[in-house]
């Protein structure tokens, strides 16, 4: 029964946890966290506001604390580590592998880092220092430095015995590396082949020509490459072609997954790190910046409107219809922007494709622009019964929607060329363009045609 309660889904698990917290049932809480696995514990901690989370930390068994810390969101990890002494951190990283130690120390201050480094056993320490020597956007930073390496000419049976004698293969290994004496990678053998192929045959017969990644490759590039491979683990080599570790593809693909999430947040003016449970002050601050930027563009639009005081003063219907022009352009533009930004993230836009895309979006913009311009014109005519106003709004909507679609392609491509993240500033630039073009064309045409 209790097992059921815990495993049906995260939501029910959260409710169960809240109940235990309300009843202060510390025994059941400790038991729960002993039974949950590392990932489940991490996701659970991420699903509570800071205050409750601070209460939950106490119930996590000390032996699991390090692994849980390595797994939770960086912000949460930093919050927790902040209050600890160097000796606390030393205690926590005991028994962790190099990758996990590197994650934990990443958020510690320099003083603690130095002290903890000194306390590590020599092999782990060298591995951690090596991981930390990489920039944090390259493959080397995220690889597992431990691999199972064998020489050419060895039989499958011998490989299996070698693994058993030396207690090799941790939970994350999925392949055997075949290397020469300099650690140059010659091939890889899957565990499946190691089991299913005749045991007397040698590794050379079944090894695959490995697809490898360079340790200095950008993680985002690696993610784009791995999306088109069915490889759970990829060997990582340095620029001399020597094997330095292996990359868990799932870790890297998580970054692409975050990518859509990040685009969504950027386009809505929310910072990367913000989650439901980000504390009030931090949320208010990070969103405030975006609101400030938006204010500039809103006042730019207001300034444009201000140039047409005369016509607005005479025809109040223009003030009433103004938001319709801006809104239709804004939606049309952001539809295009979203599609283009996703295409860029997936690496689909190269060469001729761009020209094709401009043409496509111009046609989509013009055809939808035409249809909706006529609809809006019709409604406006029924409302105000004024052919000139009808003409003005019909033209303005057509112009604004066509240009909105073109801007939706142009803006992200130009931003990318200047190495600026199109998701971050694309939406605000686009809105500025559609607002300004919308008001300018609508009120400008009104001035020319009606006044």
């Amino acid at each position: 029964m209790r097992d059921e309660e815990k495993y049906t889904n995260l939501e029910e698990q959260l409710l169960y946890l809240q109940k235990l917290l309300d009843e202060e049932d510390t025994a059941a809480l400790s038991e729960l966290f002993t039974e949950l696995d590392i990932l489940a514990t991490a996701r659970t901690l991420e699903s509570f506001p800071t205050k409750t989370r601070d209460r939950l930390w106490e119930f996590i068994p000390e032996t699991l604390l390090g692994e849980v810390l390595a797994e939770v969101d960086e912000d949460i990890r930093a919050d927790y580590i902040e209050d600890l002494s160097a000796s606390d951190v030393e205690q926590i990283v005991k028994g962790l592998d190099a990758q996990e130690v590197a994650e934990v120390l990443d958020v510690a201050d320099e003083e603690i880092k130095t002290t903890v480094y000194a306390s590590l056993d020599q092999e782990i320490r060298a591995q951690v220092e090596n991981l930390h020597s990489y920039e944090d956007d390259v493959v080397g930073r995220y690889m597992d430095p431990e691999t199972v390496n064998v020489k050419q000419g060895v039989s499958l049976e011998a490989v299996q015995r070698y693994i058993r004698i030396h207690h090799l293969l941790d939970d994350e290994s999925q392949q055997i590396m075949i290397t020469d004496k300099d650690k140059r990678l010659l091939g890889t053998l899957t565990l499946i082949d190691l089991i299913k192929q005749p045991q007397e045959s040698v590794v050379d017969e079944y090894m695959d020509v490995p697809f490898t990644l360079n340790d200095q490759m950008k993680v985002s590039e690696a993610a784009a490459l791995l999306r088109s491979k069915e490889l759970p683990f990829v060997p990582v080599c340095d620029s001399d072609g020597l094997l330095v570790g292996q990359l868990n593809a799932a870790d890297v693909l998580e970054i692409t997954q975050d990518d859509a999430d990040m685009t969504l947040k950027h386009m809505s003016g929310v910072s990367d790190e913000e989650e439901v449970f980000t504390p009030i002050l931090r949320s208010a601050k990070s969103r405030g910046i975006w609101l400030g930027i938006n204010l500039l563009t809103a006042f730019l639009a207001a300034f444009v409107i201000g140039q047409f005081e005369e016509v607005l003063d005479q025809i109040v219907a223009l003030a009433i219809l103004m938001p319709v022009v801006a809104s239709m352009g804004g939606i049309a533009g952001s539809q295009t922007l979203t599609v283009v930004i996703r295409g860029l993230a997936l690496g689909q836009l190269a060469g001729n494709n761009k020209q094709w895309l401009y043409n496509k979006e111009l046609w989509v913009g013009m055809s939808n622009g035409l249809v909706w311009a006529l609809v809006v014109g019709g409604i406006s005519y029924l409302w105000f019964n004024d052919p000139l106003i009808t003409l003005v709004i019909t033209l303005a909507i057509f112009v604004n929607m066509s240009l909105a679609n073109l801007s939706g392609v142009l803006i992200p491509l130009v931003l990318k060329r200047f190495q600026i993240d199109p998701a971050l500033s694309g939406a605000v630039i686009l809105t500025t363009v559609t607002d300004v073009v919308g008001f300018l064309s609508f009120l400008g045409l009104a001035t020319v045609i009606i006044l």
Copy 2:
């Protein structure tokens, strides 16, 4: 050299392909597709407009065609299958496993489906029919019906020999299922343990208590569960507890990945299926629907403004400042909406957390509202030098931003209760609310205070 060219990244690969197409170098094209693996071929096809894609299909080796079809986006698969005869499809599905056949037949019409069913070998056919008997949003639809099953009490050595003799373990197997004579699942054994543990010991000693999924569970629910487990493959059981297949967690997590992508698209008014290379007509149509819905809300806002003709007619500054109020409320609301929708998708919002969230967003809304209301008020005063207009816009921004944040929480939670996807309609409802509240408070206050 040529290998380098192909593998550096998708973008360069696309350029290389375009070059070959331009030069009509059919030999190199055929060679390229022979060397690319299935996933890479699928991703490449997805990265071209329909016309170019139709040319590329010819260069894909016939033996790979079926697997490539099973891998590409559903839309593209449907487009390709549409033009084929039943005997073409029969040819294509030859040699595919049940999962792949099911994918391909999913997009075929009933007549072709029936003909191809009849041509399948009996075992595959039974498996395909079983997969098709599931709804397309449940786990059973996406599982691999083939698993490697052994009985209790067997030694590891015997399991290895059994696998070799019967040529078991396909590329996707990662675990051995231990079942009783009724196929009830008793435990699972990883390939790692099968290799590294003493070979004379029996499977019982090293088998794990399996975490299983029910075949009727919703895929989205399964994805939420698997996010907190480190399991590459999960056994699937029916409601009697009998083993019916295994689920590749990566397949399901791709759906969660798509989830952020889908949210992004929905919030920007783009349909799920739309990609950069969706043909013009299809894009225009699917975006048109959203533009139509938006038009209703834009006219609702215009109608609200229309109620205040009198005050607008007298004070033109109001028309100029109107968009600022709506825009600040819109941004503040969509920041909140985005965070809440992601929280809902991750299953983080349950019980007390909701109350906490209302409080948080009200505070964030009010504090940011206060700050930016004062800033806007200050700028407006400098611009129009009118204390009453300043008072009106300051109050209106404060009210609109505070309510916008509350609506950002309330709207998705209410939609979710009514089983409506909050990403799909949340953004448009929210904009309607912030526009209407913004114009109503701004122009309403102006009428009361100034007139």
